[in-house]
Amino acid sequence: MAHHNPHRTHTAAWISVTVLLVIAVAGTLVVPIYARSTPAFADFPFFYWYQILWVPVVGILTGIAYLIIRPADATGAAEGASVASGASSDDAGLGNTGGAL
């Protein structure tokens, strides 16, 4: 029987999301990519139209990241919910390292 390993799906989802987000941030963090005036577009030097174009690109990349992570996130939330309802001051654990996100 084909067995679906939620943990592996989760990891794969996060790797692809990381790649998308790193691209999104690097696009304007690495200034030498766009610190030039040519090629110009509609009278805009490259420096300007590149960054303006990057705005919707980042929106799309982040949107795709959301779609990828939504199912994995829902699994985590479902697991979290059961614990959440029981959360109180006396479940103070020591040295928790957080979840997978």
Binding site: D43, L61, T62, D73, A77, A81, A87, G93, L94
Partner: protein, 548 residues
């Protein structure tokens, strides 16, 4: 500019009146049985969906200072000022990663402020106090700058005459008293509802400006040519060019670190976190990170207004005539380019644009004071209603303080403090964001790392001279880092120092087996997505559960 344009002024007054009504009526919006609760007053019932959150966060993050200071910087220095666009491009993918975790753990434990989380995670009142104080300290000058932005508009409109200091400041005072009134009455619901008006005005203003003004100025090619010629001229004060149309290689590090540092800092500001905590479900945050870049586009276009102002024949002489205050460039551009009725719309967009963040900032600062100073150190047993009452009055106090900033201290001082605020708030990043993933860091190591970075950042910013004026201070937010010989944003240098100290001291303190403090959170809490109606009241006494 001695006489007021009646049409522009009337439009501004009418729109201001609309917003005032909306602000007070907001108390009845998404009506709740009991508004006297910090979840309600301070976080709007924690029930905003994707649509409302988009307007709220957009209205919250893009302040009047953005609409005034970013184009002013572009007007004065050219390409270097565009780091703000790069910054708002980077911020949402970064926040996408950690904000849902912060939202989840805060929903499970009913945290109202980031310092609440830090206290629960590290079991440290001291570290929580450090986070709360930094938040309040960084927010105060930020509110003051909303006033500075409003003042720029009022100055250009000629409102308030110059006959006496009192009359000059009266319009600002009235605007702020009204703002304080509906914030007190409606809490976060007021700015959330007003954000709809603000954002609509801003979008209309920028779309019209970006099409209409370039046509009047002879097209984008002409604008970029004029600006390029001007920026290449030598600034008599510094003996160097005013700026450049493209970031020079020497400025690339400053550009990148300013953008990255600001992006990391933005969602450490209490008002930004308040906007996140007000979301109904976990998914609302990630969805918003994908659609909030729409506002980054606005910011990019607003930045270009600085170039339009530089290329408009009448604006630079008028800026010079007003003490070379570049902050007046955009209001002057509107006044000279638009028919008076639309100039009024543009002015209203900026003024109302200042009110929304000012309200949210004062609420966020009030939440911090109430939860992490008042309840924590002075009144453990304060009831939810009592806490809300305290927060309401503190929100008034915070606004009065911001007014005092602007009236009593010099405008330059407010701007310097804002610059410092950015450096300071970034120093809360390690404790908050690392804390969302790991309890490895020792609480005391984080406190010492924070303190060292705060001192370093403040001193380093103080030592930057104003270009061309030897012996002056707070001339900018970048400085040369000796080891790498590049100009870097001081906030980024400070956070590196902060992290290094935190890591080294954590190793030392762990070796010495110093007590780590109790952690009230569990891994699953960071992934939880509780139904909104399960949110229980804010815990009455945080201290009753205090760890050693």
């Amino acid at each position: 500019m001695t006489h007021v344009n009646a049409v522009s002024f009337t439009i501004l007054i009418v729109l201001f009146a609309v917003v005032t009504i909306v602000g007070f009526a907001a108390a009845r919006w998404r009506r709740t049985e009991n508004l006297m609760h910090l979840n309600e007053w301070g976080l709007g019932g924690r029930g905003f969906g994707t649509f409302v959150s988009w307007f709220l966060l957009g209205g919250d993050l893009y302040t009047a200072y953005t609409f005034i200071a970013v184009p002013a910087l572009v007007y004065a220095t050219g390409a270097a000022g565009f780091f703000a666009l790069s910054y708002t491009i980077m911020v949402f993918p970064i926040v996408f990663v950690f904000a849902p975790r912060l939202w989840s753990v805060s929903r499970v434990h009913h945290y109202v402020t980031p310092a609440d989380f830090v206290r629960g995670r590290y079991g440290s009142r001291g570290l929580a106090l450090a986070i709360a104080l930094t938040g309040i300290l960084a927010t105060m000058p930020y509110i003051a700058l909303q006033l500075v932005g409003m003042q720029a508009v009022l100055t250009v409109m000629g409102v308030g005459g110059t006959s006496s200091a009192f009359l000059k400041d009266l319009p600002l005072l009235i605007a702020f008293v009204i703002l304080a009134g509906y914030t007190f009455a409606s809490g976060l619901r007021a700015p959330a509802l007003i954000a709809f008006v603000k954002d609509t005005l801003i979008y209309v203003m920028i779309i019209v400006a970006i099409i209409y003004i370039p046509i009047r100025l002879g097209g984008w090619g002409h604008i970029f040519n004029t600006v390029g010629t001007h920026l290449a001229k030598t600034n008599p004060k510094t003996g160097k060019p005013f700026g450049s149309l493209v970031v020079a290689p020497a400025g690339e590090w400053a550009y990148a670190t300013l953008a990255l540092g600001s992006a990391l800092a933005l969602f450490m500001y209490p008002h930004a976190i308040t906007g996140v905590f007000a979301a109904r479900r976990r998914n609302v945050i990630r969805r918003n990170m994908a659609i909030l870049p729409a506002y980054s586009l606005v910011l990019g276009l607003v930045a270009l207004l600085g170039y339009m102002a530089l290329a408009a024949p009448g604006v630079p002489p008028a800026v010079k005539a007003n003490g070379a205050n570049a902050q007046l460039s955009v209001p002057l551009l509107f006044q000279q380019m638009f028919p008076s009725w639309f100039a009024g719309v543009g002015f209203a967009a900026i003024v109302i644009g200042a009110l929304v963040p000012a309200a949210i900032m004062s609420i966020a600062a009030a939440n911090l004071f109430t939860r992490n100073i008042y309840v924590e150190f002075f009144n453990h047993e304060a009831s939810p209603a009592h806490q809300t009452r305290v927060a309401q009055f503190v929100s008034l106090l915070v606004k009065a303080g911001a007014l005092a900033f602007v009236f009593a201290l010099s405008k330059t001082f407010s701007i310097n403090l804002q610059l410092l605020g950015g450096i300071w708030i970034l120093q809360t990043f390690p404790a908050i964001v690392a804390g969302l993933y790991t309890r490895w860091f020792h609480r005391w190591a984080l406190v010492i790392g924070w303190a060292a970075a705060m001192v370093f950042g403040t001193v380093a910013a103080y030592r930057v001279p104003v270009p061309g004026t030897a012996g002056s201070h707070f001339g900018g937010s970048t400085d040369t880092v000796p080891l790498i010989q590049h100009t870097v944003y001081i906030g980024v240098t400070a956070i590196v120092i902060n992290l290094v100290i935190s890591v080294v001291l954590t190793l030392v303190f762990r070796a010495l087996r110093l007590p780590a403090g109790a952690d009230e959170t569990l891994p699953a809490h960071y992934l939880a997505d509780p139904e909104p109606d399960t949110a229980a009241p804010v815990r009455v006494s945080a201290a009753a559960e205090a760890s050693p």
